[in-house]
């Protein structure tokens, strides 16, 4: 296999159960370097779980995740799978950036402190170096004037942009977004989507679980539709929105778009 065909992140035949419930059912998805994939689907379809599995926050029950060809969590060995040490998994995980629906900033640290934490504690930078980096990444999300305030002092949209800067600061190979705008007030959604659109334009490899159809249509190279734990179809937005191959995709899109049109009146 040559270098160019190794995906940034590969999800192969992944299964995840919570007790009897099959949350992910044989999901396979390759995301190429520089590609933006949006994951859409009804709630409970396994979208968020897919991201948690990809980031190894909740390891899958079956299947494998590969980060640039390197298997996460396990090592292939002649005798079978060999679990990686927790330090190795940590190192692998720090190559993946994740932005959460519930923001998850650390409220007792300043904005700069949130961004610096991984640089100091994980990368071993000095505070001065880390602060310089934090400044750089916070200005990428338009918050270079908020370094020394606490998360409680800024809006939800600004907090989510800090969370994006925190992930970017670790210079991840791939960014995962789990419904990054779903917990925000409507008027704060756009500022976050703008930052994400800019990242997409810079060819950042991203997987975005979202309900924002217009963002997906504009920013995504491909859209993945999930339903009941299965990946139903993956296609470029023009194809998926205009002529979905599967009935379930069409039904979902019709409902979602009708709601959108109703809103417009």
């Amino acid at each position: 296999m040559n270098e160019a065909t190794i995906p940034a992140i590969r999800t192969a035949n992944v299964t995840k159960r919570f007790d009897a419930l099959r949350v992910l059912d044989d999901v396979s998805l390759d995301v190429q370097e520089g590609e933006v994939v949006c994951v859409i689907g009804p709630s409970g379809s396994g979208k968020s779980t897919l991201l948690r599995v990809m980031s190894w926050l909740s390891p899958p029950d079956g299947g494998r995740i590969e980060l640039r060809g390197e298997r996460i969590g396990f090592r292939d060995a002649p005798g079978g799978d060999q679990p990686r040490s927790s330090a190795e998994v940590r190192r692998q995980r720090s190559r993946i950036g994740m932005v959460f629906q519930s923001l998850n900033l650390w409220p007792h640290m300043t904005v700069a402190g949130n961004v610096m934490e991984g640089l100091v504690s994980v990368r071993g930078m000095t505070k001065i170096e880390a602060r310089e980096q934090a400044q750089k990444h916070l200005s990428r999300v338009g918050l270079s004037d908020k370094l020394d305030v606490f998360p409680a002092q800024i809006s939800g949209g600004q907090q989510q942009r800090v969370a994006i800067a925190r992930a970017l600061a670790m210079e991840p190979e791939i960014l995962l977004f789990d419904e990054p705008t779903s917990s925000l007030d409507p008027e704060l959604v756009d500022e976050v989507l703008e930052v994400m659109t800019e990242l997409a334009r810079q060819r950042t490899t991203m997987v975005v679980v979202t309900h924002e159809m217009s963002f997906a249509a504009q920013a995504a190279d491909r859209i993945a539709f999930m339903d009941q734990g299965r990946l139903v179809e993956v296609a470029p937005p023009a194809v998926l929105f205009r002529e979905p191959a599967e009935d379930r995709t069409r039904q979902f899109l019709e409902r979602a778009l009708t709601r959108y049109r109703l809103l417009l009146g």
Binding site: S55, I96, N104, W106, E117, S121, F150, R166
Partner: protein
């Protein structure tokens, strides 16, 4: 009235007060350690260990602290554990207050969302780093009022150590009273001293609480 009595006996009273203060500090530190052990044991995989801790907590909740003190001081020696007066006192207070402090700490730790821990894991922080940098710093501010309340209770309970002749504040007061025959004056001054010191402690931690939780209220 002999209001000079308590002040003429200052050296003895002060000596007792110093003993009370350092027993309070020692027992508080030991109780915090005990509380952490209880929390750790409660999360252990060993079933018998969890059960043991539960039985101990139930027992503590159902025994007056004075009875516990007698058990430690008079019964443990029969079982081969001979401790001096002060170690017995510190051990009693520790055994008695650890479960309560564990409860307060558990509540504080539990109030930190899993999302914050997930964010730490995604940055590549180890479990220990997550505790050290994220969970514990926030928990301290949350647990502080509860822990201070318990520490004040503990400080007051040091008075019962006088029954096993620990030469702390209350014990020295009793001696001074029997020497001076001025119970009204001496006890009044001693009670006022307890009250002033404990009120200061409470105010001090309130200040610390404000500083530790400042980030929550800034808007």
């Amino acid at each position: 009235m002999d209001w000079l009595a308590p002040f003429q006996n200052m050296p003895a009273l002060l000596g007792g007060l110093v003993t009370t203060i350092w027993i309070t500090i020692a027992a508080t530190i030991c109780s915090l350690c005990g509380a952490m052990l209880i929390i750790l044991a409660d999360q252990a995989r060993l079933r018998w260990l969890r059960q043991l801790v539960r039985v101990y907590i139930e027992a503590i909740l159902g025994i007056p602290i004075l009875v516990l003190l007698y058990i430690v001081y008079f019964v443990l020696p029969d079982l081969g554990v001979k401790l001096g007066e002060i170690p017995s006192g510190v051990l009693t207070l520790t055994l008695y207050y650890s479960p309560y402090m564990a409860e307060v700490l558990r509540g504080a730790l539990g109030s930190i969302t899993t999302g914050q821990r997930d964010a730490g894991r995604m940055i590549g922080l180890s479990d220990f780093d997550i505790l050290r940098r994220i969970t514990v710093p926030q928990s301290i501010g949350i647990a502080l009022p509860g822990l201070t309340g318990l520490m004040i209770g503990l400080a007051k309970d040091t008075a019962i150590l006088s029954v096993i002749s620990v030469q702390e504040f209350t014990y020295e007061t009793k001696l001074v009273v029997s020497r001076t025959y001025a119970p009204f004056e001496v006890w009044t001054v001693v009670a006022a001293t307890y009250w002033v010191l404990l009120t200061c402690l409470e105010q001090l931690t309130r200040l610390g609480e404000y500083r530790l939780n400042r980030f929550r209220e800034m808007r």
